[in-house]
């Protein structure tokens, strides 16, 4: 078994191409099926670490403060994301509660933490412990983080309630808006290119 390093196969259709060294920001697409074949991720890498750190901070804000406050004839009510998950769990449909918790809290948090760990510069040139496993985890988690869908859900819920009660958007709502934008950039980075970056460093 030996590596054929001068060729590359398309992930989506298996067509084989000769590898080309790409300049910064260049993307090569498969001419057979049109999916992304290869890209130079060096430049993205530099944006990625600061963005990941900022996302982590905003993620904390988004989860500590209430998303929305509701006022209905003198009665107040507010909820955080965790509060909503707990209400669901207490209703006896903990499967859905788990699903919501996983897709909006656990998976995005894990993605950010793993990326942070893998990107933080170190003097050591060896691959860091768990590199393989963590990249595999990131690739598995990638479709399951749904912060942006959650944000749309918040907006729909707010409009639905605005008919019957006074709605005051909370700090966390703005935090979720920012988080959505930043995570879109962070998560659109295919963890596969971390291999490419790691090789370049060696």
């Amino acid at each position: 078994m030996h590596e054929i390093s001068q060729l590359i196969a398309c992930e989506h259709c298996d067509a084989v191409f000769k590898k080309l060294s790409l300049a910064n920001g260049e993307i090569a697409r498969c001419t057979r099926c049109g999916s992304e074949l290869d890209r130079n991720a060096q430049e993205r890498r530099n944006h990625l670490l600061p963005l990941t750190i900022a996302s982590l901070i905003i993620f904390v804000i988004a989860n500590v403060f209430p998303i929305v406050e509701m006022e209905l004839q003198g009665l107040h009510s507010q909820t955080t994301l965790i509060g909503a998950v707990l209400s669901l769990a207490s209703e006896g449909i903990s499967v859905v509660a788990l699903l919501v918790m996983a897709t909006t809290l656990l998976f995005p948090l894990m993605q950010m933490l793993i990326l942070f760990y893998l990107l933080v510069p170190s003097k050591n040139t060896d691959p860091r412990p768990g590199f393989n496993l963590l990249i595999r985890m990131m690739q598995t988690l990638r479709p399951w983080g749904m912060i942006e869908v959650f944000l749309l859900g918040v907006l729909v819920a707010l409009i639905k309630l605005s008919d019957m009660a006074t709605i005051i958007p909370g700090i966390a709502l703005w935090a979720f808006c920012m988080l959505t934008v930043m995570l879109t950039v962070v998560v659109s980075f295919n963890p596969r290119y971390l291999w490419q970056l790691e090789e370049a460093e060696r």
Binding site: M1, D14, F17, G34, I93, L152
Partner: protein, 235 residues
């Protein structure tokens, strides 16, 4: 963006060299190509298991898709949300929630929820049927469109979680005991299951199967992978 024509192997349809036709195995995790590797062997770079195609892709996708279709019925028939106030209690299904928005004049919101909760799951299920059946028949029908269809369902599938999030938020927020209370209905469980199952189905489908059509072996053998430098100078 790089001009993609510089990476052409062979333009004529169906005459592409594939890793399989060249006896190579590509690693799904790190993208490296290996010669002389056996199926099930580990990638020497990243230790992932090497497969020619995702193992048992068609069967697994069928199983998940059928399960999703079954769950689709309770997901749309059973209430996803129960609203109880002092005077009354009423139940909402996915569709009645959309109709409520429409009737109350918030037609754009009705459209958003209709697309995310009704159209997207339906589209995804139909698309997976088309992809599975055509891949099983090794059809050469509209391969490029089918490849984009696959990429599209991978992209939009997650958006049908919308209703699950809306219900969880309403349940978390409207908890004024005896006065106004919203609780989740069983339907939301079935609906969540449809979303998860269709997502798992599209993950387990191997898009390379779209291109695995039977071609005369000699045609493949004759097409050489041209030198890249030549392709560049031509373009």
């Amino acid at each position: 963006m790089l001009n993609s024509s510089s990476l052409i192997t062979q333009e004529k349809a169906g005459r592409f060299h594939t890793a399989t036709s060249m006896g190579l195995l590509s690693c799904r995790q790190c993208g490296k190509l290996w010669e002389g590797a056996e199926q099930g062997e580990r990638c020497a770079n990243c230790n992932a298991t090497l497969h020619m195609r995702k193992p048992d892709s068609i069967n697994r996708t069928w199983a998940l898709l059928v399960a999703a279709c079954i769950m689709y019925i309770p997901a749309n028939m059973l209430p996803v949300m129960v609203t109880s106030t002092f005077f009354e209690s009423h139940q909402d299904t996915i569709l009645s929630g959309i109709i409520f928005f429409w009737v109350s004049g918030q037609w754009w919101l009705a459209a958003v929820v209709f697309i995310a909760s009704f159209l997207v799951p339906l589209l995804k299920i139909t698309a997976l049927f088309i992809l599975l059946i055509s891949a099983q028949q090794k059809s050469t029908w509209r391969q490029l469109e089918r490849a984009s269809l696959y990429r599209m369902i991978e992209l939009i599938g997650r958006w049908s979680m919308l209703d699950v999030f809306v219900v969880s938020l309403l349940v978390g927020l409207v908890q004024m005991q005896g006065f106004a209370q919203i609780s989740a209905g069983v339907g939301i469980m079935a609906f969540g299951a449809v979303v998860v199952l269709t997502m798992l189905a599209s993950i387990s489908f191997d898009p390379r199967l779209i291109w695995d059509t039977e071609l005369p072996q000699n045609e493949i053998a004759q097409a050489a992978v041209p030198d890249l430098q030549n392709s560049i100078s031509k373009s």
